[in-house]
């Protein structure tokens, strides 16, 4: 048989069967069935020259080179070794059969040799006696054709070795705004070989706080630098941060993660002693940094802390305008985002500018105080005297007001007018001679 052939059953016989086999015959059969199967060999007839120890003619059965049986004789012969009518089983999935005859046969009887059937028989691994490593499956063994499967009782799950079961823990995602978690069996001893993962993931914009109860016990190795979490640990992982392993006897108490998702992984190896841990988790809105202050402006509402979805507004003092990236804006508000950042940076307040006062025909304007054209700058119009004079109040002044208008003392926006001076020449006719 070639190696690639998978033979599940067949038959074999001695040369020339059912005629007597010839002298000096030597024939070998190598039988192989798939892994997980044995070979069952059933002789329907065996008649080989009987001799002590099957010395002359024989059918030898070997497994991996090891002699299992050596047959000769027939069912009635007194000597020889006849297999009887019960089938024989190979210890593995292969057998080698060798038939050989010597150069002479007794004349009074012509031996016909043998005829046998073989078939592949499934091995029931689950019934196999335990090896030194214990049972094949730690809980439930299911035999299958050519193999077996392990399974676990409710509340346990099959580990990656496919044979042992471990207590189910930390299954699923905790997405409620608050909840309770504890290690398996808490406050009793934790099972060995635990690898429990607990994922707390709440809505964006909310942060998770872990509040460990006082009874906290995870085996550790104490050192000068505190407990080392070598064999048992509770690992806390936050996004974009290095994981932190917790162990020892002191409860971590309250941990504000400032993150909307936390992964807890509880690990025990197959020895030691940990009573485990318990915690209540709660959620709160993500906190944004304090927005700071705006020179010449006010940030409202003023609070000690700002959280997700909080809005703040900026208003400038009177006479100042909101500026964002060199652009003036009418109003400003920003909101605390789910990532804990303000969606816009604060603007600046710049002093307003009324622009140049409107020029006065036949007159001019004089700055009395303040930076030119800026809020609260004070100007006064004048006319080109003596040819023009200001209409109305000669002392009227204009102030750059918050509405960016130059307004007079009586809140008028209109600039004054220069009226011509009539009938008053700068030179007199002087006629002294009489």
């Amino acid at each position: 048989l070639s190696d690639s052939d998978t033979v599940m059953h067949g038959e074999l016989h001695s040369p020339q069967y059912p005629e007597p086999y010839p002298p000096n015959a030597l024939e070998q059969w190598d039988l192989t069935v798939p892994e997980g199967f044995q070979i069952r060999l059933t002789f329907t007839h065996l008649d080989i020259e009987a001799s002590d120890g099957c010395y002359y003619d024989s059918l030898t059965v070997l497994h991996n080179g090891k002699l299992l049986w050596k047959f000769c004789g027939n069912e009635n012969s007194g000597d020889g070794n006849h297999p009887g009518h019960q089938p024989i089983l190979s210890p593995g999935n292969s057998l080698t059969l060798i038939f050989q005859s010597d150069d002479s046969n007794p004349e009074r009887h012509q031996n016909v040799g043998f005829f046998a059937h073989f078939q592949a028989i499934d091995v029931d691994e689950c019934s196999a006696p335990e090896t030194g490593n214990g049972p094949l499956c730690s809980q439930i063994c299911l035999n299958t054709l050519g193999s077996y499967l392990c399974a676990c009782h409710h509340g346990y799950e099959l580990r990656s070795d496919k044979s042992t079961c471990v207590l189910t823990c930390g299954d699923g995602i905790f997405d409620e705004p608050e909840g309770h978690l504890s290690s398996p069996g808490y406050p009793n001893l934790s099972p060995y070989s635990l690898s429990c993962q607990y994922v707390i993931s709440v809505k964006n914009g909310f942060t998770v706080s872990l509040n460990f109860s006082d009874i906290f016990h995870i085996e550790s190795v104490d050192s000068e630098n505190g407990p080392h979490c070598l064999h048992h640990w509770l690992q806390v992982t936050l996004p974009n941060k290095e994981p932190v392993k917790l162990c020892g006897k002191k409860s971590p108490g309250l941990i504000d993660t400032n993150s909307s998702s936390v992964t807890l992984e509880y690990h025990t190896d197959n020895e030691g002693m940990s009573k485990g841990w318990s915690l209540d988790y709660s959620t709160g809105r993500m906190k944004c940094p304090m927005p700071g202050s705006v020179t010449r402006g006010r940030v409202t509402p003023s609070m000690t802390e700002y959280f997700y979805r909080d809005h703040i507004y900026v208003r400038c003092d009177q006479g100042y305008k909101l500026m964002m990236n060199t652009q003036e804006i009418k109003t400003f508000s920003t909101v605390c985002q789910s990532n804990g950042q303000w969606h816009l940076p604060l603007p600046e307040c710049h002093i307003i500018d009324c622009g140049d006062p409107e020029p006065l025909l036949n007159g001019g304007v004089t700055f009395l105080s303040g930076s030119q054209n800026q809020y609260l700058s004070l100007v006064q119009y004048h006319c080109n005297e003596p040819f023009y004079s200001l209409e109305g109040d000669q002392n009227v002044t204009f102030t750059c007001e918050a509405d960016r208008q130059w307004r007079s003392n009586d809140l008028a926006v209109t600039k004054p007018t220069c009226l011509p001076v009539c009938g008053q020449p700068t030179q007199e006719i002087r006629d002294f001679l009489r």
Binding site: P420, C422, Q424, I429
Partner: protein
């Protein structure tokens, strides 16, 4: 101006030299875009001259220095009551010219005040007449190159009328003296306005402020003894002046 003197610079800054074609007259600055003058300078026998013929000069006392910088009229407004078809009726001898560009006032260019509504034209009060019209040079009339002025008293209306009646008896043709006119001058003559002064100002002062009482209008000869100069009485036209300026 007969019997007058050269006007020093900046003393009569509202005096305007006005030309219409080859003719010369005067005008008075009353606002930055308005010149007042006599109607007969701009209209003759019912025909108003084209505004394009009118040129005005301000800011000087020397004709030669002013003549290169004319001002132009945007519009000409002759009093609607002016009618001189028979050359003997100069009633309502007043007109306004609107300038194309406004004036900027300075020492040499200033407006004169208009009369107050209740202004009094008191006989004997001395006024100032100025202009670039003919002057008397030892009995000859010559065209002057300088602004002249002369001071003349207001004359009583009856006295003025009597003087003109006397001239009529001497077979002079004399226009009618109306209530819209007043007379100024001296009985001995010699001091008067003359041709070329028409439209120029006759001003009075009050509280050191000059106001235009009259516009040089007409007279019998110039500087004649017993004949007074006649001026348009401006106070009678305040409403028309203001209305014309507002409407234009």
């Amino acid at each position: 101006i007969f019997g007058g003197k050269d006007a020093p610079q900046n003393t009569i800054p509202w005096q305007v030299l006005l030309t219409v074609g080859s003719g010369r007259g005067g005008g008075i600055i009353i606002a930055d875009k308005w010149i007042m003058t006599a109607a007969h300078v701009l209209a003759h026998k019912g025909q108003q001259v084209s505004k394009d013929l009118v040129k005005m000069y301000v800011g000087g006392t020397e004709v030669g220095a002013m003549i290169n910088s004319p001002l132009y009229a945007e519009s000409v407004h002759v009093h609607p009551g002016y009618d001189s078809v028979d050359d003997l009726s100069y009633n309502n001898d007043i007109a306004l010219i609107k300038l194309g560009n406004p004036l900027t006032f300075r020492a040499a260019v200033m407006p004169v005040c208009l009369p107050a509504k209740d202004s009094s034209y008191t006989t004997g009060k001395i006024g100032l007449v100025s202009g670039f019209g003919l002057v008397n040079d030892n009995g000859s009339r010559i065209l002057t190159n300088r602004m002249k002025y002369v001071q003349l008293p207001l004359v009583d209306r009856k006295k003025c009328n009597d003087s003109f009646n006397l001239l009529k008896e001497r077979k002079h043709k004399v226009p009618h003296l109306t209530n819209n006119m007043f007379c100024a001058g001296t009985p001995e003559g010699g001091k008067d306005a003359c041709q070329g002064d028409s439209g120029s100002p006759f001003t009075l002062t009050e509280n050191k402020q000059f106001w235009v009482a009259g516009i040089v209008s007409w007279g019998v000869d110039c500087g004649l003894a017993g004949a007074y100069g006649v001026y348009t009485k401006v106070v009678e036209y305040l409403d028309w002046i203001n209305r014309t300026m507002q409407e234009n």
